[in-house]
């Protein structure tokens, strides 16, 4: 088996590397990808058409917004899939056992986390909201927010985190996040444009068509952040407790 693997990997590697002879060299600004029409359009015209200086966010949430919607669905599937495969529902409906339950980490960890957590969460919300002007956006902020809840679970014990973010609530948050994204696109449909065509929303949003795109990107990123937060926490709580959701790490 090892020999077969070695041969297969060698052949694949040689094939992949044989193509590099006609690749552009690293950093070449005149390569077909970097000099191409599509990338030039993204760099030169994005801010004029969408009023968003961060080209990556604009491409992610507007030009290729359909793709981002499916990306959010992917992470949603991962969350539901982990619950579907791993979750053991018998015996978890009993009330939380306060005596036997774990209290998380020691005193020092709890104290530090209780100081830091609000700042983490505010920074995460800032990253979500400021994705237009600096590196950031829905995914990045959502992961940070999810990580803050995981930190809460690590420091104070899973039961305390579950009181704040129960399983039912994570599912609702995750579904609501995608609802916001897809619903916003359907709103564009109802107002006469194509799916996810934000410019037709200038009739209900303040500003002209370009500002409507900018605002819609924010709404869509908020939807993404909801889903990512909920699923990050749900993935952690299921994987660390082997589906029982009773004791933490």
């Amino acid at each position: 088996m090892k020999l077969f693997g070695l041969i297969a990997v060698f052949i694949v590697g040689v094939l992949l590397l044989s193509a590099t002879q006609d690749f552009p060299s690293w950093g070449n600004p005149r390569s077909a990808a970097s000099d191409g029409e599509v990338s030039s359009f993204y760099i030169e015209k994005t801010e004029a058409v969408t009023k968003v200086p961060n080209m990556v966010t604009a491409v992610l949430a507007d030009f290729r917004g359909y793709d981002t919607m499916f990306e959010t669905v992917v992470i949603f599937i991962a969350g539901i899939g982990i619950i579907a495969v791993l979750r053991n529902f018998e015996g978890s409906d009993s009330s939380i056992d306060y005596d036997n339950d774990d209290n998380g980490a020691g005193l020092l960890a709890r104290f530090t986390c209780s100081l830091i957590l609000p700042f983490i969460q505010i920074f995460a919300l800032y990253v979500v909201a400021h994705g237009h002007h600096s590196p950031g956006g829905g995914f990045q902020g959502g992961v940070m927010l999810g990580a803050s809840y995981i930190l809460l679970a690590l420091a104070f014990g899973l039961s305390k985190a579950k009181r704040i973010f129960s399983e039912r609530r994570t599912m609702i948050f995750a579904a609501v996040g995608i609802f916001i994204y897809v619903g916003w696109g359907v709103l564009c449909l109802l107002l006469g444009g194509e799916f996810l065509n934000y410019s037709v929303l200038d009739s209900i949003l303040p500003g002209d068509a370009m500002m409507a795109r900018s605002y819609s990107m924010l709404v869509v990123e908020i939807g993404v952040a909801f889903t990512v937060t909920a699923i990050m926490f749900s993935m952690y709580s299921n994987l660390s407790t082997r589906g029982r959701l009773s004791k933490g790490l």
């Binding site: 094939l15 992949l16 044989s18 193509a19 590099t20 002879q21 006609d22 690749f23 552009p24 390569s31 077909a32 990808a33 970097s34 000099d35 191409g36 029409e37 599509v38 990338s39 030039s40 359009f41 993204y42 015209k45 507007d62 030009f63 290729r64 917004g65 359909y66 793709d67 499916f70 669905v73 992917v74 949603f76 599937i77 991962a78 539901i80 899939g81 982990i82 619950i83 579907a84 495969v85 979750r87 529902f89 039912r168 599912m171 609702i172 995750a174 579904a175 995608i178 609802f179 897809v182 359907v186 449909l189 444009g193 194509e194 799916f195 996810l196 065509n197 934000y198 410019s199 037709v200």
Partner: protein
């Protein structure tokens, strides 16, 4: 509103999945109803889409997401959908099979996935969203994301079964990720050389700059093909399929076996015909055409022989799927439009007959409690309705008229003869003979054999049960899908001329 139909086909099951998750696990009945309604609406919309696409003034629906016109000097800036008659037919097949399978799952859901019925329905609807998206999209990277959606949902759906299912699902994860990543690498190589991700634009750039003979384009083609072949279980990359489909919960198996590999065959035909084009794929400079046809021949022969050797019904059917994939790959690579059209028609016909056979096999395994071929003993007397359905599917696999299997073999053989690939024609005939041996052995047992043991002990006062054996027919909610499947096998056969003309015209347009 009708111009938005392509995206609505996707959105309805997506909303259905979200509603099912919000309904929660306490309400399995309502989850089933939601799922049924959303898939029904989606099938109806896709039927209307077929009608729209067939009308003269609309041959292809092009739908641009976000309304972005090609603003970069004629290059597409956003993602667009492209729906022609081929895509519309496959989308209808996907949503319709999903709808019928949901009817089948009504009684089986609670038994097979205790307590997680809502997650099952959510995952199935998301799988349908992924499959429809794959068929309709015109963007190479979007195709990767949708392939991963279908893969992830199928990993989860298979792993919800027993422990052997979990192990097969893990194997599927490893092989499926390799396949999808190879596809992604191929797309990356194309992007480096062309600078765009839209399938039409890639073809235009490749043609304008005459990049056809560059090593990177050849390597890109090889890797995209390897990725798609892994996903469709083309021999010898088929290792994940038999275990994954045989051990999956029955309502998952009946859904995935007809559809997943066939949609990947559609992707392969799209990439060959539309992305790279006739001249590149079939040119004599590249040695791969002969090579792939020989690989297809080996796949057909190996699949048929391995199916003959099996004693487990479901494993046998999965090896037959591998042989059928060999038919389609060989047909597409023959080098003439008849072959391509035959392979495409076989996508639809194989979906119907695999669906029919898998439902029948699942019903029999459920009632008799035994999954080996000996379960068929004496079944013609005891479960006649089920056996009628099974017979229709079996005759189609063998290739007898008027089932669709006969006509698809006919087209593939005539394509093979036109192209002079006699090894392919011989492999098809050989496979039909082997299928005949397999299925007539089963018919002989079912007609003449002694009745196999009973799974449930039924009291004599049970009016549905046959008085001397106790094996009774299954409830109507499981028989109706079987009859719809057998009916569609016959319907596709009767309509084969019309369908073939539509397919051939569309492919000729694509090939110019």
């Amino acid at each position: 509103m009708t111009e938005h139909f392509p995206i609505l086909i996707l959105l309805v099951p997506l909303f259905g999945a979200l509603i099912v998750v919000l309904l929660g696990r306490e309400r399995p009945e309502q989850c089933w109803v939601t799922s049924l309604v959303s898939l029904g609406i989606s099938s109806i919309i896709s039927l209307f889409t077929i009608i729209i696409v067939l009308s003269d003034k609309v041959q292809t629906i092009r739908y641009r997401m976000g309304g972005w016109e090609p603003e970069a000097n004629g290059y597409e800036v956003g993602i667009e959908l492209r729906v022609d008659i081929l895509a519309a037919l496959v989308v209808f097949a996907v949503t319709f099979v999903g709808f019928v399978n949901t009817i089948y799952s009504k009684t089986r859901a609670e038994a097979e996935v205790q307590g997680k019925v809502s997650f099952f329905y959510a995952l199935i609807q998301l799988l349908i969203v992924g499959l429809c998206g794959i068929v309709m999209t015109n963007d190479a990277f979007n195709l990767y994301v949708l392939i991963e959606i279908t893969s992830l949902t199928s990993y989860a759906l298979i792993a919800m079964g027993n422990r052997r299912a979990a192990l097969s699902s893990f194997n599927y994860v490893i092989m499926g990720t390799i396949g999808a990543s190879f596809y992604l690498l191929g797309v990356g190589y194309l992007y480096i050389k062309t600078g765009t991700l839209n399938i039409d634009d890639i073809r235009m750039v490749l043609g304008n700059n005459d990049l056809w003979e560059h090593q990177s384009i050849i390597v890109a083609f090889i890797f995209i093909m390897l990725g798609v072949w892994t996903k469709m279980a083309f021999f010898p990359l088929h290792g994940w399929l038999p275990n994954a489909y045989a051990y999956a919960p029955s309502m998952t198996g009946t859904f995935m076996a007809p559809l997943m590999t066939k949609v990947m065959v559609y992707v392969m035909i799209r990439v060959m015909v539309w992305l790279f084009g006739w001249d590149f794929v079939y040119s004599d400079q590249h040695v791969w055409r002969e090579l792939v046809i020989w690989m297809a021949v080996i796949a057909i022969v190996a699949g048929s022989l391995l199916a003959l050797a099996r004693t487990d019904i479901k494993k046998m059917l999965t090896y037959l799927i591998i042989a059928e994939v060999g038919y389609m790959v060989g047909g597409a690579w023959l080098g003439n439009v008849t072959g391509q059209a035959g392979a495409f028609y076989h996508i639809l016909s194989d979906a119907a007959m695999t669906f029919c056979l898998f439902i029948a096999a699942s019903i029999i395994v459920l009632r008799v409690g035994d999954s080996r071929v000996s379960a068929f003993d004496g079944l013609f007397r005891k479960m006649p309705l089920t056996m009628i359905g099974f017979t229709v599917g079996a005759l189609s696999m063998i290739g007898l008229p008027p089932t669709c299997g006969f006509f698809s073999k006919w087209y593939l053989i005539s394509g093979g003869m036109k192209a002079g690939q006699w090894e392919y024609v011989c492999a098809l005939i050989f496979s039909s003979l082997v299928n005949a041996i397999i299925f007539f052995r089963i018919f002989e047992r079912a007609y003449f054999g002694k009745i196999a043991g009973v799974k449930e002990d039924l009291s004599p006062s049970d009016s549905d049960a046959n008085p001397d054996t106790g094996i009774k027919e299954v409830p109507w909610s499981m028989l109706v899908p079987l009859f719809i499947a057998s009916g569609s096998v016959l319907l596709l056969g009767i309509m084969n001329r019309t369908l073939f003309e539509w397919i051939q015209t569309a492919l000729e347009v694509m090939n110019t």
